[in-house]
């Protein structure tokens, strides 16, 4: 990885210090605001993915891996579990699957905070998307370009693309 080090761009590295946390805050905003304004868990996850892509460009796969202490597949599992729990809890409470619920708080500084069950569902979606992107970077980001057999992997990335886009084409 020494050759990569020599190719590092000072401008990008420096701006990353500001950009990276800002993008993460934007992603958080998208997740929380999504219910009423443009955004949502899916977009939030993708924005985090964009931030990770920037990190990858500046620091390589090692930088991406060091971003999160937990293994990427944990994101997938926790996200799925969170969404599924949100979906099934109303059934246990005697409602129908994915039935909507909300709680309102009146903390001192903020006027009114409304927490909806949609938020935790969206957070689950968010985590799954982040997990997917992390796993893609870890899987395909590390090999040196001349690694044998890598040609086979290209087909997978190409076919997984429509599945990501599919929901918005409807």
């Amino acid at each position: 990885m020494t050759d990569r080090r020599s190719r590092r761009m000072l401008l990008l590295d420096t701006s990353m210090k500001v950009l990276y946390p800002s993008i993460l805050v934007l992603a958080l905003y998208f997740v929380f605001a999504g219910h009423n304004r443009p955004g949502g868990g899916f977009v939030g996850g993708l924005v985090v993915g964009g931030a990770l892509a920037l990190r990858y460009v500046s620091g390589g796969a090692a930088a991406v891996r060091s971003t999160f202490r937990v293994p990427p597949h944990l994101f997938l599992g926790v996200g799925l579990l969170l969404s599924a729990t949100t979906a099934f809890v109303p059934v246990l409470l005697g409602g129908s699957i994915l039935e909507h619920g909300e709680v309102k708080f009146h903390p001192p500084v903020f006027d009114t905070v409304k927490l909806t069950s949609a938020l935790s569902f969206d957070l689950g979606v968010d985590l799954v998307v982040i997990g997917l992107i992390l796993m893609a970077f870890v899987a395909f980001g590390e090999d040196s370009p001349d690694a044998p057999g890598a040609a086979d992997d290209g087909s997978d990335a190409a076919t997984s693309r429509p599945s990501v886009r599919g929901r918005h084409d409807r």
């Binding site: 964009g50 597949h73 799925l80 979606v125 980001g141 057999g149 290209g154 886009r165």
Partner: protein
């Protein structure tokens, strides 16, 4: 009735699950459901025989108007007596046959009960679809029973062959039943009988039903599975493959004949197939050296005899068929039981290895001789009553085309029946014993009372009802009237005077005696004839040929479709998903839309077209990926222009990430394309791309029209209105995703998780190749049975 079927199911499953502790005594438990069925049928018999059937109906799929309608009329009663009566005797016989516990014995007993329940369902169903379900259950249980010894490759092959042929026939039958049910407006047999449907569709339907019945009853050219099924333990062969299951086809033909015998080609097909099979079965039975195979071919011949009697739609002849069902069940089950006893005590069924038995075997010999004599049609046994009645029916009431020819075939085939019955008896008595083979049968241990008892009971039935056929009058006449309402069946008689039927019976016996006396020359003639006809493929070879053809076709299809070329995969996938829905959608295209709504559209579309063309022209992979990204960004611009910020935001993020991932992967590939594709590939790609484009265009137009043609308020308005009240959010897109269509989103994120795991596994598998010790994917495939899967796939 329904309760008793459920009882079979419950007891059967219980024995399969926990019968291992019982050992052979599992058959005692297995005997209980048939016993209960018999007791129940006996309690209802007087009312049923008076023409008052018992009916039960259970809602099954009420949404489709499907119900399980059970109906016990006199014909069903006759079949119940056969199915449950023989079943009870077989369970007792099994106690003698299976003296020691062996692996799979409990399963055998349990599935036997399940089979009995399914078979009862066939004969009790008044509804065609329910009948079909039970019909298939008998095929499946038969498959399990034939292949019960799963360590024996011959048993597995025979079981596969049986389910392949009867299963294929079952599908044909289903098609026929649906055609008939739709044409007749009812799936109830009793209603169809009251108002028989007709028309060209029904003519096709009845042929399909007949094909189904022929496969089940092992008629030419579908007969090969029945002799192969003789690999099953003898109690199973005696029960399923002689007395009951193979009669399901006969039962169906008998049920349908009163409705359809005059329709289309029903009668012609029944007579043509019947006459052919009857002769073939008899001739092949005469050439067998294995007693069990001899009986199997004899069963093929006898089953078709029943078809010829019950299938022509003439109640005088059908009455003979009903007697034959009873007579055949009694003598054939008894003969199979004798073969099982011989096999069990001497270890062989070959007539060349039998040299006669000691005096303690007298009772077995009597059973065999009496039952074989009944099969041959010698008075005063039940088989003779049936045959005499059949001849009389064809002579006196065979006033339809072809009846004379069928009568000739019946007479000739009956001579063959006499001959192979004699061969069975002579073989059992040791007349064909080869002096060079070790003599084991003379000192063979005599079977116990439990082992012989059931066969003795059956023989007693053969004799008693033969001497006093009037005892059966009520049952047979009731069953005939149930099949043919308004018929006036004649009583059964042992001696009806010196009429033409009597003369034919004498002729048959004389012919049979002659064939037996001249058995040496006859066998030589058959051997020479079989040399000559060896060129004609047998049904066994036909079955193997079909299997080979299926395998070869599958190979060719796989080689064509799974040829490893990514462009072809992509072409097949996109053409399928675009062209298949386009065909119905093309009719819905209405007015063309307004082409330009805002000036900015022109700019954005120009970018899209230019980038798309560029992506298909450039030779540099990463440049092409970037061009695709440009298409996506411009699409996002279109969304913004249409006022859909959410879509635009998502599209924009997706494009960014997918371009990055593309580059991530493409760096492993050569920088540009090497053009090794044939020159035809270019135009073909353009054609596929054009087809996809047109299809998407049509889809967009027709879906826009579909929305305007609905009278109700448009879906999008409903969603916008209810978004805040029901979903608690103002962003409609997001509320749809997490609430209205939240279940879809749940599915989609699951797919995402699976895709992520798949991508990582593939990347790891690719990396393994650098590691010399770890197996690569091809090696894993080649390794066959060895558990060499990589960690990720375990």
């Amino acid at each position: 009735m329904f309760f008793l079927l459920v009882l079979h199911l419950v007891v059967g499953i219980a024995i399969v699950a926990g019968g291992r502790v019982l050992g052979p005594r599992a058959f005692v438990v297995a005997a209980m459901p048939p016993l209960a069925m018999l007791a129940w049928a006996a309690a209802r018999s007087s009312a049923v025989l008076d023409g008052d059937p018992v009916s039960e109906s259970f809602a099954w799929i009420p949404q489709l108007g499907m119900s399980i309608d059970l109906r016990l009329d006199a014909f069903s009663l006759l079949m119940v007596v056969v199915v449950s009566g023989i079943g009870l005797l077989i369970c007792i016989y099994s106690l003698g046959y299976f003296t020691h516990d062996q692996p799979g014995l409990a399963r055998l007993a349990g599935v036997l009960v399940l089979f009995a329940g399914a078979m009862l369902g066939v004969v009790l169903s008044d509804q065609l679809i329910a009948l079909f379900i039970f019909w298939e259950l008998t095929s499946i249980t038969s498959f399990l029973l034939i292949g019960n010894d799963d360590t024996n490759p011959r048993a597995r092959a025979a079981a596969t062959q049986a389910i392949f042929i009867t299963g294929a026939g079952g599908l044909v039958l289903l098609a026929g039943l649906i055609i008939i049910g739709q044409a007749g407006g009812s799936y109830r047999i009793s209603e169809l009988l009251a108002a028989p449907p007709s028309g060209s569709a029904v003519n096709v339907g009845i042929i399909l039903v007949l094909i189904g019945a022929f496969t089940k009853s092992a008629q030419a050219p579908f007969s090969s599975w029945l002799p192969a099924a003789m690999v099953a333990p003898t109690p199973i062969s005696a029960y399923l493959h002689s007395a009951t299951m193979v009669k399901a086809g006969v039962y169906l033909v008998a049920r349908m004949a009163p409705i359809f015998a005059m329709t289309g080609n029903w009668r012609l097909v029944v007579m043509a197939v019947g006459a052919t099979t009857m002769a073939i079965g008899g001739l092949r039975a005469m050439r067998q050296h294995d007693l069990k195979l001899l009986l199997a071919y004899g069963t093929v011949s006898q089953l078709v005899f029943m078809m010829l009697l019950l299938g022509v739609g003439e109640y005088h002849i059908a009455e003979a068929g009903l007697v034959l069902i009873l007579a055949h069940a009694a003598f054939k089950a008894a003969l199979f039981m004798v073969v099982g006893i011989v096999d069990h005590e001497t270890g062989t069924r070959e007539i060349t290895e039998l040299h006669g038995f000691g005096p303690s075997w007298r009772i077995v010999q009597v059973v065999a001789i009496v039952s074989a004599a009944s099969m041959a049609g010698i008075p005063p046994l039940l088989g003779f009553i049936a045959k005499e009645k059949a001849l009389d029916g064809y002579l006196e009431h065979g006033d339809f085309a072809g009846a004379g020819a069928v009568l000739v075939v019946i007479v000739l085939a009956s001579m063959l029946t006499f001959a192979y019955s004699a061969r069975f008896v002579l073989g059992l008595l040791g007349r064909f014993g080869d002096p060079a083979k070790p003599v084991v049968s003379r000192t063979a241990h005599a079977p116990g009372a439990l082992f012989v008892g059931p066969a003795v009971v059956l023989t007693a039935i053969t004799v008693v009802f033969g001497l006093v056929p009037g005892l059966l009058d009520e049952l047979v006449e009731g069953a005939t009237t149930a099949l043919y309402p308004g018929s006036e069946p004649n009583p059964l008689e042992l001696f009806a005077g010196f009429n033409s039927a009597m003369m034919l019976s004498v002729l048959i016996i004389l012919g049979g005696v002659a064939l037996t006396a001249l058995r040496g020359p006859v066998a030589d003639a058959q051997r020479r004839a079989s040399e000559a006809i060896r060129r004609i493929p047998s049904s066994e070879q036909g079955y193997l040929g079909v299997l080979r053809a299926i395998s070869a076709t599958a190979n060719r299809v796989t080689a064509t479709l799974q040829n490893g070329s990514l462009p072809i995969y992509v072409a097949i996938i996109v053409l399928t998903v675009t062209l298949v829905p386009m065909v119905p959608l093309a009719g819905e295209v209405g007015a063309l839309p307004k082409w330009v709504e805002e000036p900015v559209h022109v700019v954005l579309v120009a970018v899209i077209v230019a980038a798309a063309l560029g992506a298909s022209i450039v030779r540099h992979r990463i440049a092409a990926a970037l061009m695709l990204g440009a298409v996506g960004y411009a699409m996002a611009g279109l969304y913004v222009a249409r006022g859909a910020p959410d879509l635009a935001l998502t599209q924009f993020s997706i494009e960014t990430l997918s371009t990055v991932l593309f580059v991530l992967v493409l760096r492993f590939l050569p920088r540009s394309w090497r053009h090794r594709a044939p020159s035809i590939a270019g135009p073909m790609r353009i054609a596929v791309a054009g087809a996809v484009g047109v299809a998407i265009f049509v889809f967009a137009l027709s879906s826009a029209n579909a929305r305007s043609s609905v009278d109700e308020p448009s879906m999008s308005e409903v969603m916008v209105e209810s978004s805040y009240e029901e979903g608690g959010g103002r962003n409609v897109v997001n509320v749809i995703l997490v609430d209205f269509r939240g279940w879809d989103t749940m599915g989609e994120i699951t797919v995402l998780a699976v895709a992520a795991i798949g991508a990582v596994s593939m990347a790891r598998a690719g990396r393994r190749r650098a590691d010399k010790d770890a197996p690569v994917f091809e090696e894993i495939l080649d390794a066959g049975d060895e558990p060499a899967l990589p960690e990720a796939l375990r």
